[in-house]
Symmetry: D3
Subunit: 138 residues, 6 copies
């Protein structure tokens, strides 16, 4: 058994979005995405939980200082997405449907370069209390 | 002491909105509403708690059947607002700023005619877990 | 402004119950109580919040020691109702329909004699996270 | 690293149950199951979280539409168990003790045939906020 | 009915404290405060909910901008108490027992001068999820 | 697929602590641990979730009776740490910095000998709702 520990930090942001596939007509988009395809957008309070796995530093007892992790999440993710329209304001979703799955993948890719390569990274994203996703999955 | 009981039912809806005053220019709107004034909208998962106060019916033990209250809330409120852009899709906010305060007042006015006059009605609206409002207040 | 403070203690219990009026036939009970009228019972995790209002004792800073309040709630309420069938096991509901409203009134009456008369008492009972009641209401 | 994503949907149901082994006498059942062996049953608000793992569809961005997953859970699980006495009303527990562990296994087996075979399935069941189980475990 | 609305803002802080009355000997303090009288202190994550009641400003729709309220709470309360030993680091509790009741009264008195006099103010303080207090009470 | 099930039990304790490395001077401790290095301590409400994985006993349907697990956690962990100053009152942290990571490892080592070797054990520790850790990680 290794002495690895997982550490988690929870943040949140509020955003508007609309789900649709621009290659489909409105009827097909409505059939697939239902009320999530409202052309005027709807929105969510997203809760984001970031998980890192690594060995605690023997001098600090930290895998990573969660205050620093919080600052990284703020700089790379929540400052970009909070109080935004994901489809219109965020480069990442100009051509990518902002489902919870895709938002989680985008967030992972935004965070990965900012986190030490020795640490495993996983993100969990709550779109609502009842709908949530996790990426990556081993 | 009367034998009145308060009963509560919690529902939710997800919506986009933007806070601004059309009589002000963009600079003043930004100064007052900050990132809530994003012209492309942002959004929330709203939690709505409806409170009724009355005497339990001696034959049922209910102040009101909360299943029926849930259906009324669905018909009068959440079907109207869920997955909507409050500013653009909802008549009520064409000229009224959709702050939590104003949304709560609007919801109260939508529900009041549908609830027996003998019952006191109050609504609590959570815009986020940390920001919420209540109307009316005695 | 008085220097009164409200103090709250949350406890819980798990119980089975069935809603019905023995004076009505099965058809009417089904019409009124729906699936809550299952003759084989269903159940809930009840959360109970007890509120007391009074002036803090100047020597302790307590309105009431909440550990003592917890013990009283345990003795008078949760030991009676936890892991019980309210209709069959509990004297209080032999002829009283165990709606959340009635359970709250019963709990109030069980607690009132055990709490100092100088303290205002109110109980809030959660039948589920989305359905809850409060008694008394001024 | 695969591009698999885990998606989760939370539902709930309220049910009565009793824990006991019909092959044992009452004394042994009491010794093992304590107050959970109340012959008149007790009950819980069960929270059910269903997890699926798969690759998002490139056209929708969904691993699976969670509205459809919600409908499947409703049809296969919660319509069967909600407001029921698990021991008396549910075929699955006529001879199987309805511990949280066994309920989770039963729910898995009810859902598995209804979910695309390409998707990994896991269920988490909360009997209370403090007692919960997960099945299967790799 | 007035058009008053209650608005709420939730904040938190983490602090150590010890409950005891310096006028009593250790035996009496132990008898009254039990393990809360640990001379080496213990601690809590305190959740603070601040409630204001007033009429929404017709131009903004706000009773008060909750971002401004959040800044006031931070300046007046959480910057003072967060990651502190209430008994040793905080002037307010040099001679006042830091029970939840007394902490709530102190927080009220810190906030009151910073909030417009036209607004009613009430604070709710959670010492744990199960023990909480409110001040003032009408 | 094995028929293993994971079972979870949630407990909590309240404690004071201070983060620092005695080999460093105050300036370096302040730079690394910030306000967590308050020499007078601060505190938290810790939530502890203990996970066991094993096969349900065919006679009981239990992986382990969670009441018994609760008693073991109480005896081995929460009676030791609740309402304590981790640095001063607890042998385990005399020379070990009580970060969430280290507390989780200590709790694992306290529980492991008390749990049947056939059962996999993992602990999750919440220092706050937003900062939490898990040990071990495979």
């Amino acid at each position: 058994m290794s002495n690895k520990v997982a550490v988690y930090r929870k943040e949140h942001f509020n955003a508007a979005h609309r789900l649709y596939n621009p290659l489909w007509d409105m009827a097909k988009n409505d059939a697939v995405f239902g009320k999530c395809n409202n052309p005027n957008y709807h929105g969510h309070n997203y809760d984001l939980v970031v998980k890192l796995v690594g060995e605690p530093d023997p001098q600090t007892g930290y895998v990573m200082d969660l205050k620093i992790l919080s600052d990284i999440i703020k700089e790379k993710v929540t400052d970009k997405f909070d109080h935004k329209n994901l489809n219109k304001d965020c480069e990442e979703f100009k051509t990518l449907n902002p489902t919870a799955e895709n938002i989680a993948i985008v967030i992972y890719n935004l965070l990965r370069p900012a986190i030490d390569v020795s640490l495993y990274l996983q993100v969990r994203l709550y779109e609502t209390e009842r709908n949530f996703v996790e990426y990556p999955v081993e």
